[in-house]
């Protein structure tokens, strides 16, 4: 027995390989709690719907914020009203019971009986997954809240089977038998519903059914998606799904938790994916949307306390080590909601420098534990720990004591760490050199830690050289991110040059002969400013070195002028000149009345034609009278009229290709009909001629 339970509760190091980018995830903290108060407490004291009320109250309860007293009266009234009404929907009854579970409103016995019968009727007549969900979960809530009520679910196995028909082979579920679309969100709802059926069933459900469900869960985990930083999440397959990744993931986690809680046998879920799901939910940060917030906190609460595995998160309050302050590096290990972790030890397996990725500076250093603040810390760093960027690889080892729950962590947590320190600046000097020979004309030593008043003279045939040496606390040559040398003329024209760092020192040589055009041929006094900065450097500096008098030749005619320096430094962000576009001048059209007059005039010849026809005595006497010949004749004329109509439509709306299609069809028709009619006419006239 002991071995069995020991085996069951023995916590093993689950070796999981997670490769990917290094990142830090923080458990739920007080910033979440203060944001929750802003998001979930309504301004006017009442919630828009029971669903919203439930989400808000559940989140506040899980985060440990007590705001119930202000809202409970109005919400409880709503709950009692819904539970008492016989015409409320299953969804409303479900959310009313959920809110009642949190607020514990006073409802009467008669109301209870009505609700139970309504929910039982709902189970019997359920047609879709949501109907089953609301009615079964409603009965579970009644069982939890009112002890001693008789809830018989009838034939639990039949209900289990009818819900099970909605499952699909890929692990997803359908919402109803009519709707062919499958959804991962629906899978979560289905697991919760089936868990409810199992817990309400009077006798054991057939194990084979539960086994098929577990296989379906494994299939669902095959469709899990992941990001590069080791987070896993569930999402819907279709692009226009109503549920996003947060709500889908939360739904699945809720379903798995209630399923694992409802039945006695083990539910084995892949540990790395559980940790990945926890990291995904924590990685969301503080959601702005109330629904996302509720889903995040609810899912994390399910992960915090479940029967398959509880993930532990390693987080660092600060990822910067200052070599001058000599403060220890603190590491916290907690559950996702920030509760205490069980007894464990944290080891720093490796500290990989960004410069030399293969060798590690620190190897297998165990961190000490401070029980008062529940943090692990590393206070001693090796002698060769220099400034720069590192990736620290932490490993957590859980103690082999009898834990009630199965805890799980990442095998290795990679955290980016920055080590900062004071960089010493030595041998800083500025010199003016003669261009041809390279001999030094004037040289001055600099103290870059404070502003100087160096004064130099140079003409365009000479060079300016600035050099200094930056060394880390351990004596290595330091290459800063930023080393800028700025020359600013009296007329506010500025020039910036980059100081290059080689293996031995940092140096900048300005050859004025080549720079004459860049400096716009401006002679005069230039202020010298030097900026050195880096993220690892605690003493970044900006120092005014002094000034230099430059003697440059006269500007030739074609040389570019210096840009006009506006007095306002922010004027370049002001409005720009308006662009006036030139459009094609539209053609002059004639007056409307003139066009209408000519439209009338056009009709005149046609009227003249008709009058002429009448005068001629034109008739349609030879239109065939017998049915056999009249029909083709009518069709022929009708066909011609149809072609003309098609042309009118073509002009108005259609395009050439549609018209060509129509014309070809009508043409073929006209061909047959016309041939018929005209041959009949020809035969008739031949008969007349011969007669």
């Amino acid at each position: 027995m002991m071995a069995g339970s020991g085996l069951r509760f023995l916590v093993l190091i689950l070796v999981v390989a997670i490769c990917g980018a290094a990142s830090v995830f923080q458990p739920i903290s007080d910033s979440h709690r203060s944001a929750a108060v802003d998001v979930f407490v309504p301004v006017d004291g009442s919630y828009k719907s029971l669903e919203e009320a439930y989400e808000a109250l559940k989140t506040l309860e899980l985060l440990g914020i007590d705001k119930k007293s202000d809202l409970s009266s109005a919400t409880c009234e709503n709950v009692v009203k819904v539970l008492g009404s016989s015409s409320s929907t299953l969804k409303d009854a479900f959310y009313a019971l959920s809110v009642n579970g949190i607020l514990k409103c006073k409802t009467g016995e008669a109301v209870l009986k009505d609700i139970v019968s309504q929910l039982q009727a709902g189970v019997k007549g359920a047609k879709s997954l949501l109907d089953f969900y609301y009615s079964v979960r409603g009965l579970v809530l009644v069982k939890e809240q009112f002890s001693g009520t008789d809830l018989s679910l009838g034939d639990a196995e039949a209900i289990f089977r009818s819900i099970k028909t909605l499952s699909q082979t890929d692990g997803r579920w359908r919402y109803s038998s009519n709707n062919a679309e499958s959804s991962t969100f629906a899978a979560g709802l289905a697991f919760e519903t089936l868990a409810g059926v199992i817990s309400l069933a009077p006798s054991e459900i057939d194990q084979s059914l539960i086994q098929t469900l577990k296989t379906g869960i494994q299939k669902l985990f095959d469709s899990i998606q992941k990001y590069d930083d080791g987070t896993f999440y569930f999402d819907e397959k279709s692009v226009d799904a109503t549920q996003g990744p947060i709500s889908t993931t939360a739904s699945v986690i809720r379903g798995l938790t209630s399923f694992a809680a409802s039945e006695s046998s083990e539910l084995n879920l892949p540990g790395d994916k559980i940790v990945g799901l926890a990291k995904f939910l924590l990685g969301v940060g503080i959601p702005g949307d109330a629904k996302d917030f509720f889903n995040q906190i609810d899912a994390l609460a399910c992960l915090e306390d479940n029967r398959f595995s509880v993930p532990l998160i390693l987080s660092l309050p600060s990822t910067v080590i200052s070599l001058t302050k000599k403060e220890p590096l603190k590491v916290k290990v907690s559950t996702v909601l920030g509760s205490k972790a069980p007894a464990l030890s944290v080891k720093l397996a490796q500290a990989l420098s960004s410069r030399s990725k293969d060798s590690s500076v620190i190897n297998s250093q165990e961190l000490k534990f401070d029980a008062d603040s529940a943090t692990y810390f590393l206070d001693s760093f090796p002698k060769n720990f220099d400034v720069g960027k590192y990736t620290f690889v932490f490993e957590i080892m859980l103690d082999d004591s009898a834990n009630e729950k199965v805890y799980i962590t990442e095998a290795q947590t990679k955290v980016p760490i920055a080590a900062t320190g004071v960089i010493s600046i030595e041998n800083a000097e500025i010199a003016v050199l003669d261009s041809d020979i390279g001999s030094v004309e004037s040289q001055k030593k600099l103290d870059l830690t404070k502003d100087g008043a160096v004064s130099l003279l140079a003409n365009h045939l000479q060079k300016l050289r600035l050099s200094f040496q930056l060394t880390t606390p351990l004596g290595h040559v330091f290459k800063p991110h930023q080393a800028f040398f700025k020359l600013k003329h009296e007329s506010q024209v500025e020039h910036i040059f980059l100081v290059k760092t080689s293996a031995k020192k940092s140096e900048l040589v300005l050859d004025f002969l080549g720079l004459v055009e860049k400096l716009y041929y401006l002679s005069g006094k230039y202020e010298i400013q030097l900026t050195i900065g880096d993220s690892s450097m605690e003493n970044s500096l900006l120092s005014n070195i002094g000034h230099i008098e430059l003697d440059l030749p006269e500007r030739p005619e074609k040389a570019p002028r210096p840009p006009v320096q506006s007095t306002e430094p922010y004027s370049r962000y002001g409005p720009k000149a308006e662009i006036s576009h030139i459009f094609r001048i539209p053609e002059k059209l004639p007056a409307k009345q003139l066009s209408l007059v000519f439209l009338g005039l056009i009709v005149l010849p046609f009227i003249g034609f008709l009058i002429g026809l009448m005068r001629l005595g034109v008739n349609i006497k030879s239109f065939p009278s017998s049915a056999g010949s009249a029909i083709p004749a009518l069709l022929f004329h009708g066909g011609i009229a149809a072609v003309l109509l098609l042309y009118v439509l073509f002009w108005w709306k259609l395009d050439l290709f549609t018209t060509l299609k129509g014309v070809s069809l009508l043409g073929v028709f006209l061909l047959f009909v016309g041939h018929r009619t005209l041959s009949q006419l020809a035969a008739a006239s031949n008969k007349l001629k011969s007669a």
Binding site: E587, P590, F598, I602, P605, G612, L656, L678
Partner: protein, 115 residues
């Protein structure tokens, strides 16, 4: 001399008119159709002369539709005229069918070009 010219002209007109009256009705019908088409074209040209040829494609389309249908009607008249020995063997119904077909094609192109 002038008097004889006018008398000759009048005689000419009278003889032409009497000869024309004798033509069959269907030919007169076609002649009227041609006149109708040509007059419509002339009115369009007058309009264009007045207001300018801005949508030139529309003007061309309209004028050529009238002229085209007039030409086709003239062809039909030639083929249908019983006195024309060249087309003795061609049935007038066949000529009419050609006329209809050519008009259909012409008007398709015209409508496309109308814009």
């Amino acid at each position: 001399m002038v008097k004889s010219t006018t008398k000759d002209a009048q005689d000419l007109f009278r003889s032409l008119r009497s000869a024309y009256v004798a033509t069959p009705t269907n030919l007169k019908l076609i002649d009227m159709y041609v006149c109708f088409a040509v007059f419509t074209a002339l009115i369009q040209v007058a309009y264009m002369a007045l207001v300018g040829s801005f949508p030139f494609n529309s003007f061309l389309s309209g004028v050529l539709s009238c002229i085209g249908t007039a030409v086709l009607a003239v062809c039909l008249r030639i083929q249908v005229n019983k006195e024309n020995k060249e087309f003795k063997d061609l049935a007038p119904e066949r000529a009419f069918a050609d006329f209809v077909l050519c008009n259909i094609v012409l008007h398709l192109i015209i409508i496309n070009f109308l814009g």
